[in-house]
Symmetry: C2
Subunit: 782 residues, 2 copies
Amino acid sequence: MTLAERPAGVGISVPRLEDDALVRGKGRFLDDITLPGLLHAAFLRSPEAHGHIRSIDVAEAEALPGVHRVLRYEDLRPLLTMDRIPVAMPSGALKFDVDPFVLARDEVCHVGEPIALILAESRHVAEDAAELIMVDIDPLPAVVDPRDGLAPDAPQARLDCPDNLVARTSAAYGDIDAAFADAPVRFAERFHLHKGGGNSIEPRGVVARWDPMEERLTVWNSTQMPHRAKRLLVTTLGLTERQVRVVPPDVGGGFGPKFVFHPEELAIAAAAKLTGLPVKWAEDRYESFIATVQERDQFWSMEVAADADGRLRGLRGTLVHDHGAYTPYGVALPYNSATNLLGPYVLPAYALDISLCLTNKVPTTPTRGAGRPQGTFIMERILDLIAERLGLARDEVRRRNLIAAERLPFRTGLKTRDGGEMTYDSGDYAECQRRALAAADWNGFPERRAAARREGRFLGIGLANYVEGTGRGPFESASVTIGPSGEVVVTTGACGQGQGTVTMLAQLTGAALGIAPAKVRVIAGDTDASPLGLGAFASRQAVTAGSAVHLAAGKVRDKILAVASDWLEVAAEDLELIDGRVSLRGAPEVGRSIADIAAALSGSPGFSLPKGAEPGLSAAADFQPDAITYCNGTHVAEAEVDPFTGVVRLTRYVVVHDCGRLINPRMVDGQIIGGVVHGIGSALYEWMRYDATGQPLTCTYSDYLLATADVVPRVEVHHMESPTPLNPLGVKGAGESGTIAAPAVVASAVEDALRPLGVAIRDLPMTPDRLVRLARQARAAA
Amino acid sequence: MTLAERPAGVGISVPRLEDDALVRGKGRFLDDITLPGLLHAAFLRSPEAHGHIRSIDVAEAEALPGVHRVLRYEDLRPLLTMDRIPVAMPSGALKFDVDPFVLARDEVCHVGEPIALILAESRHVAEDAAELIMVDIDPLPAVVDPRDGLAPDAPQARLDCPDNLVARTSAAYGDIDAAFADAPVRFAERFHLHKGGGNSIEPRGVVARWDPMEERLTVWNSTQMPHRAKRLLVTTLGLTERQVRVVPPDVGGGFGPKFVFHPEELAIAAAAKLTGLPVKWAEDRYESFIATVQERDQFWSMEVAADADGRLRGLRGTLVHDHGAYTPYGVALPYNSATNLLGPYVLPAYALDISLCLTNKVPTTPTRGAGRPQGTFIMERILDLIAERLGLARDEVRRRNLIAAERLPFRTGLKTRDGGEMTYDSGDYAECQRRALAAADWNGFPERRAAARREGRFLGIGLANYVEGTGRGPFESASVTIGPSGEVVVTTGACGQGQGTVTMLAQLTGAALGIAPAKVRVIAGDTDASPLGLGAFASRQAVTAGSAVHLAAGKVRDKILAVASDWLEVAAEDLELIDGRVSLRGAPEVGRSIADIAAALSGSPGFSLPKGAEPGLSAAADFQPDAITYCNGTHVAEAEVDPFTGVVRLTRYVVVHDCGRLINPRMVDGQIIGGVVHGIGSALYEWMRYDATGQPLTCTYSDYLLATADVVPRVEVHHMESPTPLNPLGVKGAGESGTIAAPAVVASAVEDALRPLGVAIRDLPMTPDRLVRLARQARAAA
């Protein structure tokens, strides 16, 4: 595929179809769902980070007027086929499974773990009842810092687990000893990546209804993974696939945590089945802080070997990863951190030893970026350190290490989970950096810095490169169907969390079938509409669902042309599809409506279908990517830092991004900018803190700060388009990309700004108090 | 395919899976459905055969406590996209469309036509309210006998129609004038086939629910044609395909009338959408007599040309067909009568002129046999008449006219609707007759007759041959899916009315996949489970759905073997499927569960599918028959007739039937025997009568008699199996077959019994009073 060959529908900034309803308040989010007889749920949650449950007395709570029932583990257990909720992503690296129970059985392992479920006529009655439940818990010692958890005398984070070290694994290739043996440049550094969350504007939530007549469970779930949720409900409730439907309503942000099937999702479904009444639970913000999965902490200890000209020879070290109390995601998160560290650079040898430690905090699973910002942060910090040691410009050190365009496809040396080799498919990393530096006027920065210094202001600039493996399989499903009503319906296992999935798929379909995208009805993630599907993760939907829809719509187009060609006695090549009709090119009166063709293909009793046609104006396609496609980008940021208040103000932010073909450039811009904002928050503001006993300290947005509009700079986004050969659209994922380089580039810029003061950035977030302390320490050391 | 090559699952009398629930009273028929807030419906129906509605006053009815609402035409019209309900089977032969309204607009055209719909808290309140509606109708002259309706001075059966002659068409081929020109045998006769109904044990019924949240209509409908019902609801209510689901619950008999989409089906759905409340209507038996479509009358006037040896040269004549008041079925019914008349005989020339006359009675549409018993009756009567004229044995006349086996496939000369030629595909008609005569001891009959005469009893014997075009297209859909739960689910557009469709499909699936049929879940006719489908008509489901399921299950089997072969490193040929596992032949421990394979093919996020596999352990197939496959058979019956009381007692009934391969012989026996009973009823008992003003006279089972157990002989069924090459199973339809020859053979036997008295049978039914009168007339004429 050459750059000029753009598949139909690719490259057009169709206005988002989702927005009309959303901006008018006509969206239907989980909490908008009401059903006759609906019960409202609240959870009683553990106040202890670790403890043994002696008893739970629900009598007083159940006596409260308006309370329907209070359910404990033993009430729900008879409905379940198994004791624990299976891990979402199994991994051979786990030494033992540490899956959660539907409600705590006898041990609580983090503050916020659900203990009891109250069903009542309203949420407020349910919450009042929760306070009337008498739970007697024996506190147990908690593991909070994973480094402590790996010490020989550490307390057990889970009494039912043999060890806090739930997995030890590695990422390695090349001859690391040789790389270090005679390296002219060698040094070691430690880094800490802090705990933070997904913080979607809509927290989690579930409505479940059991239909006794059809013996069927319908679950509306604010999830990224309806098909996974269905599968787990089928498995745990002992139902069959046809008995469970999971539907995602409008979802107000996913960002990773809604990938995970949490205990509440099973508990609400089981409660609906048990009571025969519909049940709603809508997570509140406090619950979101204490009960929804989060990401990190990670403690990295790295050794660097480089040549005298700044070229990397090898990296080795250890990563201690805080796993939290359960294992919903296996080892995916530190695996991503470890592998994404490589970035767009030539790294001849690599050896990272990874330890996953159980702690008494919510499980750590991917949020947007999914571990990659951490890996990128480490690599980019190291490159800055090499530049500093060798007195080289930071851009030049990177230039020397970047993989040259002519070496792509580039095999990194790392094995993938499937036994293949992690291979970058397309791109031009040096050109990407060149364009970013040009767009940000990198060369003009010294003058800007000097001018600022004359005014007493500290300006810094930073840059960071990254790659992101996107479009993970194994597949995504799609079908395109036109019925006799003329409505074009697209179904897919993919599902939107606000990123514009519906628009993207409608756009591709509309282009193939000659109709306005607004006339395409996309049903995304409804397990009844799409029996197979994966969902939203790994920046995959444009790649997988986009390709599947593209293929399916093309087949439908071919069907239309074949029938019309026969009916109209005109060659298919001479026909065109416009606005629901197929007609002779240039003679719209010689044509038929597509609805007529759909009606003919639906069949009339006893009459034949059009000659040679298969029944139904419909086609399905499941796109299975052969390999992961890697997008890449360069971020350049300028920051002004006040060393006396520690306040960072980002004054410029440039992204050059290459995710192959752009389907809807404006939506990609939105993804990138949103990601950057998330990354800036992670770099400067967000920090989920716990005290030494495992009590969370930052459970409101007064304590846990997000990057808000007043601190986010205008993000300037430029695109390169290096189409991937790995799918028919030539697209790569973009959903998480903006997040990945942001912490690294902000750190680089802040350090650069404070370089005159000798401040070195090794840990995130760079909160004002920390920066002030670092500046003081540097002054004291000087 | 040779006789020895029996596809998997074919030829086994698996016990019916349906029966366990049904005999325990655990079936769920339409009237078993209850929903919260359900409204119960009754219809106010026209008391006049023809009239103009001046006014409908519902005030008093709506004031009755418990009444929710009374709906008239003008209340429902705003919900509809069109004024009338479109014809089920369009036909170019119709001069004008005479489709019904959802409720009578301003003209009522038959007694029983729905005028108003009452929604109330219970059926009895609704019926009480119906009596409070004041309808002012101006009576108009009615057309009752279609022969009268075609007279120049006939009143108009419908004021909105230009003519009572709604269609005039013909069935013809060969040189009919030449055939008659010098024929040694020529004579003319008139025949009358009477009006009768389907009389399923469960009358019609509908429950409809509108879901305001999903904007979706669910309709439970005791129908043969859920997909057709869906399509008509989509069209008439202005919805799209995804907004309508039609589900057939257990259906207690179809027999043709439930093919037709009646006005009530739309009215109930529209009422549910209008009110937002679920609505149920369950037809009662009286309604079934006056409002459900029926079959016939037909008046035939035929001329016969034959050779001196009894060989047919040609048939010509006219058929006046009573069409009733509306056109739900086009011209299919008289078309079937006209074409099936040919039977298994060589008929060199044929010319039938067919007139369809509107009358003020319920529409006439196919019941079991669908017009074919009439055609067969005419031909078999004519052959008996030839035998009588030439002094030949009746079996010998037939033998001389039968198409020889070596002439098959045999092109009859008649064009089909699709432009092809009506062609008999396989069979051995002479052998079939031979076997039937042998089984019935035809040659021993004279002795039995003589013995009876000595006791003063009148015994007769008759025989009749027939063919039936079965397995009409355009296609039937099927899918076979195994999910990670291990459940095997078959979906199909076919649907059962009691004939064992579920068992038949489960049997074929189970055989292909090595599991017990009872473990296969068949979802038949649910439009959500099967987006495409046709339904139950034309003895088609074994042919079309059976073949589709056979093909789909075979594909699933292949998928299982491919994955297992790869996993177990064993050739697929060495594997076998037993009870949900695939394992090395003879070494069951070397194997995997099929559920494991299903789980692997469902996909886990980020992990690859088994090598080379497509997602999902599922396959779909739509079987499109290339042509109609013709089953055939011979019936022989012995009857004792009391000429003084007119009572007929059938003393022997033998069927030799050839529907190709038998999937489930016992179920085929059930179909044949049921059909014979229906045919006996039609021959001797059933008769829907009207007075001269169009008032129905036989609206209870005291007036309208069915063939009950005390009058039905043991029916002895023998099978031949001439596999058709037209589908992979080699099967032909059997559902209607038993009905087709029964009236002819009973007439032949009764006439034979009364031959000493000179009675000739030309009309049906042969009720006692008619036989007594015929005997008296014959005596008077003698």
